[in-house]
């Protein structure tokens, strides 16, 4: 940490200079805010005293829309919440309705879903890592990451036709069966990705300048993280060993062997920006492990067998949560027995993750807010919904 004792306001006041706090608006149109977010920074010189986030610029009334559509029509809306992880959003929603209706999905569908969700996780983390580097001033890794993400998007495109918003995972199944060379293609992509991660380590993650910018910055202690509802790489970066895929298992994640990677403070303190960043890098490796195992036992079957003709869940409610690339995505679904949901509330991981920013950026410099915000990895689409 830096020593700011010589520049306190009292010091300056003692020298007879007038001083006051300055309010600086960062955003809504600022490249490092990754969307439309306004941060109101209360500054003392260059030191941040308070951060007040203003969100809602991308509010598209997802929950209101959902109350006026049928259950299946809601799925495309979930795509558009976290648009970098549409597969995972679909997955959570479909799981919720399936549990409400008591639908058992075929083995093949479960495998496809897990492979898709993990590919999506890698794609999402690649964007997070690439843009984070760019926020801090490293442009090259960004291009490398997007190059590799392209392979994954190609697989998605070949499977369902879309590259960003898929509407792929349906209630009880998936929209299209995978194409014949799917297994071969995915195995190939995983083979391409593994060396990429090493390349990223050499290029960015263990770069001295990068470590200087991120280590010991924005330290988030574990108890604060839990109390603020931070989840995903945010929580694991703070050293909390918690992953919904293992601790509240859904789909078929309990069949695979993989590790929950947590931040250990290798470069600085546990829970700093570097730890959060590295958890994402490590998670890509783990996702590769899961995908490889899933490909080994990829079963045959009909992916449309369990899709219900009419989606009309019985009266009741459910809270279902899945591990998104950004953390815990929860759906609170209330059904009144009709064809449209009575209420759907989406608990977006980024929403809670962003709320901690005031806590972890006080005392840092203005330039560090970019590093901190990037390490939270926000997608405003899901925060504002």
């Amino acid at each position: 940490m830096f020593d700011n004792s010589v520049t306190t306001r009292e010091d300056i006041r003692d020298r007879g200079l007038r001083t006051e706090e300055m309010v600086l608006n960062m955003g809504p149109q600022h490249p490092s805010t990754h969307g439309v977010l306004r941060l109101e920074l209360v500054l003392e010189g260059e030191i941040i005293r308070k951060v007040i986030p203003h969100i809602g610029y991308l509010h598209r009334c997802f929950e209101k829309h959902a109350e006026n559509e049928s259950y299946t029509q809601v799925i495309p809306y979930t795509d558009r919440m976290d648009y970098l992880a549409s597969m995972n959003n679909n997955h959570g929603y479909a799981l919720g309705i399936e549990r409400l209706m008591g639908i058992e999905v075929p083995e093949r569908v479960e495998y496809i879903r897990v492979i898709m969700a993990e590919l999506q996780r890698i794609a999402s983390h690649l964007v997070a890592i690439g843009t984070y580097g760019m926020d801090i001033g490293a442009f090259t890794p960004f291009l490398y990451c997007f190059r590799d993400r392209e392979h994954i998007l190609d697989i998605f495109e070949k499977t369902c036709g879309a590259r960003l918003l898929y509407n792929y995972i349906w209630i009880g199944g998936v929209s299209h069966d995978v194409y014949p060379e799917f297994v071969k293609d995915v195995a190939e992509v995983v083979k391409i990705l593994r060396p990429t991660i090493k390349e990223l380590n050499d290029l960015l993650n263990y770069n001295k300048i990068f470590i200087d910018r991120t280590a010991n910055v924005g330290v988030l202690p574990a108890d604060v993280a839990i109390n603020y509802g931070c989840t995903g790489p945010m929580l694991r970066g703070s050293g909390v060993n918690f992953d919904l895929r293992r601790d509240d298992p859904y789909s078929i994640y309990d069949r695979f062997e993989w590790e929950v990677r947590i931040g250990k403070g290798e470069a600085g303190t546990v829970g700093d920006c570097w730890d959060r960043h590295m958890v994402r890098v490590w998670e890509m490796e783990e996702s590769c492990n899961i995908i490889e195992q899933a490909l080994e036992s990829f079963p045959e079957g009909d992916v449309h067998a369990a899709i219900p003709r009419r989606v009309r869940p019985p009266k009741g409610e459910i809270y279902v949560r899945v591990e998104n690339p950004r953390g815990e995505l929860g759906y609170y679904i209330i059904s009144d027995g009709t064809g449209t949901p009575f209420r759907i509330k989406a608990r977006a991981p980024g929403f809670s993750n962003l709320s901690v920013i005031n806590e972890i950026s006080q005392g840092h410099m203005v330039a560090d807010i970019v590093a901190i915000l990037g390490s939270i990895d926000i997608v405003l689409g899901e925060i504002d919904r």
């Binding site: 839990i226 509802g229 815990e328 929860g330 209420r343 509330k345 809670s352 709320s355």
Partner: protein, 158 residues
């Protein structure tokens, strides 16, 4: 050790004889008196065998029958058990005690429930709108909500 909602309910009944706590078998969930909720919440968070250290989700719901509900989904990372707690309030006087200082997650989630449903969280230190513009009128997720024709002189398209 993980506890079932029913066992947690019995513990709460024993700990708070003068606070109205009900149990709904159907969900299952616990229904707490809205203005005593914070006391119960602190107990849920701090008692050694409960340890609900994380608030997963807080949602506002308009029941459509003149009642608003504030629903909390709690999770314990230590014991791995979950609990749903509801506070039911009449729509014409929707006051629920804020748990923003118990779980900081509730800060933004309560602001959201206030913004979209109109539940007033008593004791919240910064109860502003969060998703809608600060000068918006009405609470859009209420079942009887009508979209205003104009917002600041601009016609609202639909």
């Amino acid at each position: 050790m993980a506890l079932e909602p029913k066992e947690i309910y019995e513990k709460l009944q024993a700990a708070f004889p003068d606070i109205s706590v009900e149990f709904d078998e159907a969900v299952p969930c616990i229904i707490v008196e809205p203005m005593k909720w914070k006391t119960v919440a602190l107990f849920l968070r701090d008692a050694d065998d409960l340890k609900f250290d994380s608030l997963m989700c807080l949602s506002g719901v308009d029941n459509g029958d003149g009642n608003l509900v504030s629903v909390c989904h709690l999770d314990s990372l230590a014991h791995r058990h979950k609990l749903t707690v509801k506070c039911v309030v009449p729509a014409d006087d929707p006051k629920v005690e804020s748990v923003e200082q118990v779980w900081r997650t509730a800060d933004w989630h309560e602001r959201e429930a206030y913004d979209l449903i109109g539940i007033e969280y008593v004791g919240h230190r910064d109860l502003r709108r969060i998703l809608m513009p600060y000068d918006w009128t009405g609470h859009p997720l209420c079942k009887d909500y009508e979209v205003p024709e104009f917002y600041n002189g601009i016609k609202v398209p639909y």
